[in-house]
């Protein structure tokens, strides 16, 4: 079966600076769950930017959902991006919208009906423990609550690929565990999950495959990830 993600000799730099990612060659199978770990500046967030199609590689070949990313036209990107859920380290919620409207965004962009949207969004917000804050604006919520909204927004439309950058960094262990269970459940129904995390506790607890990054390279090769470089 064709992998969901394939990197071949991929490098990426910001502007004219040094390469933030170097010589990445690996593939990630459909339906798998990976942690990416490594020290700050190792390139975890840059790798997630490539995967979320917000940056293009400076060199090399990236194949995502069977498509060569470099050959994608601008008009092709929205459709692919709707298949990807992203949880940002800094949440990136829209402060002027309520929790419900923030979470509903991906469904609205996909053209879902209003009634369906409200039912799904409310149910998910209740599930992540925010049933009492449906109409609250993000600035009135704690960091942990905002993070849960961000996660709910990323998973509301059952993405094929879920990318999360330190998703449990601002929540206590109990909530963090619950959120990781949500990712696990999504993974079981077919979503490929990639989580960048510093949390050794979470990584040990969930026993998924781990990509170790350092200085823009993947320097360990977990057995499930085929690295040919």
């Amino acid at each position: 079966m064709q992998p969901l993600i394939q990197f071949e000799n991929v490098g990426m730099r910001y502007g004219t600076g040094p390469e933030a990612l170097r010589d990445l060659t690996f593939s990630i199978p459909r339906g798998s769950f990976h942690f990416i770990t490594g020290p700050s500046g190792a390139g975890k967030s840059s790798l997630l930017r490539l995967l979320s199609l917000t940056q293009r590689p400076s060199r090399g070949l990236i194949t995502l959902f069977g498509k060569d990313v470099a050959s994608l036209k601008r008009g092709d990107l929205p459709t692919l991006r709707r298949r990807i859920g992203v949880v940002f380290q800094d949440f990136r919620l829209l402060d002027h919208l309520s929790a419900v409207d923030n979470v509903a965004l991906p469904l609205r962009l996909a053209g879902a009906r209003d009634g369906l949207i409200r039912d799904h969004v409310k149910e998910l917000l209740r599930w992540v423990g925010l049933g009492d804050h449906l109409n609250a604006r993000p600035p009135t919520l704690s960091g942990g609550e905002q993070q849960r909204i961000a996660i709910a927004r990323a998973v509301i439309n059952r993405p094929d690929l879920l990318l999360a950058d330190e998703p449990t960094g601002n929540v206590d262990d109990k909530i963090g565990f619950r959120l990781m269970r949500l990712f696990d459940e999504l993974n079981k129904v077919g979503t490929t999950v990639i989580v960048a995390s510093h949390s050794e506790t979470m990584i040990r607890r969930f026993k998924h495959r781990v990509l170790h990054m350092k200085e823009g390279q993947i320097f360990t090769t977990p057995r499930e990830v085929s690295q040919t470089a």
Binding site: L53, T54, P78, V86, L94, L109
Partner: protein, 306 residues
């Protein structure tokens, strides 16, 4: 109010880019209002001048005036003006294409001159010319030069005024007014469009992080552009209606102010229903122009984003 209008006009009423909070674009209605105001007045001026000249032209087409000077080019007065008038009438009534020739009474000539000379002058002692009002049948067409030559030969001091030169001058004035109005409208439009482009770009810069997020989630450029487009539409609609209403109010006040004055002697320059309808297009076009400008600007700028 703008926010309510925006939300009411927005097609899905879900507005992710918080444009109403920018502040920089609050002056947009006050940019569009003078544009609509000046465009409306310019169009009215162009239409009114055209209507005025058309009216004069229609009134004078098919008519001539024969003038018999009281003193000829040699400073000699005709022996008997009534004889000269009779000779001229005889020539005119026999001329093919002339339907009627009627001398204008001296008191009527005096009345025509009243606005310039007043009503207390001894008109009967002044060397006023005799005037003959000539109506043409149109079939056959009168050779004005031949008629003028025939009159000059037999009637000392007679000459034809077919008003062509005067009408040509008036038409040139009307065309100039139309041209200046057109240039004004174009200049106003160009400056308004340039400012709207600047305001839209500022909005894009201010809300760049929101737009980037929408893109990551899967928004198309069209989706983002629509939000700016509707906002510009709502702002411009307000300004355009204000400008249009003010222009009509100005016209009304002007009409009242000149009523009873010398302008009353001008022909009626009331605009036709079609002209009023085209004037009503000013706010519509201004609003659509603002919306299209915002849309095109956003789409052009977004192609530079990842």
């Amino acid at each position: 109010m703008i926010r309510q209008l925006f939300y009411r006009l927005a097609p899905d009423r879900h507005v992710e880019v918080p444009l109403t909070r920018t502040g920089a674009d609050r002056f947009v209605p006050w940019l569009i209002a003078p544009m609509a105001y000046l465009a409306t007045l310019s169009l009215i001026a162009a239409m009114a001048s055209s209507v005025l000249v058309d009216s004069w032209e229609n009134g004078l087409t098919g008519a001539l005036t024969v003038q018999i000077r009281a003193i000829d080019e040699n400073d000699r007065a005709p022996a008997d003006m009534s004889v000269s008038i009779g000779q001229a009438l005889a020539i005119l009534r026999d001329w093919p294409g002339v339907a009627a020739a009627t001398p204008i009474d001296p008191p009527e000539v005096g009345r025509l001159l009243e606005p310039w000379l007043g009503d207390d002058l001894p008109l009967d002692q002044l060397p006023l010319p005799a005037l003959i009002d000539v109506t043409l049948s149109g079939d056959p067409a009168v050779d004005v030069d031949a008629l003028d030559a025939a009159l000059s030969a037999d009637v000392p001091g007679a000459a034809i005024d077919d008003h062509a030169t005067w009408l040509a001058d008036m038409r040139a004035v009307a065309n100039t007014v139309t041209l200046i109005s057109g240039i004004l409208v174009v200049l106003i439009t160009v400056s308004a469009v340039a400012t709207l482009v600047f305001v839209t770009r500022a909005g894009l810069a201010i809300h760049g992080h929101v737009i980037a997020l929408l893109h990551i989630i899967g928004a198309t450029d069209d989706y983002v552009a629509r939000q700016f487009e509707w906002y510009a539409f709502a702002l411009a609609l307000r300004g355009a209606v204000i400008g249009f209403v003010l222009a009509l109010a100005t016209l009304f006040v002007f009409d009242r102010a000149v009523a009873g004055g010398p302008a009353d002697q001008l022909p009626d320059i009331g605009l036709s229903a079609a002209q009023w309808a085209s004037l009503a297009l000013v706010p519509v076009v201004s609003t659509l122009l603002a919306a299209v400008t915002a849309r095109v600007t956003v789409l052009a700028e977004l192609t530079r984003m990842p």
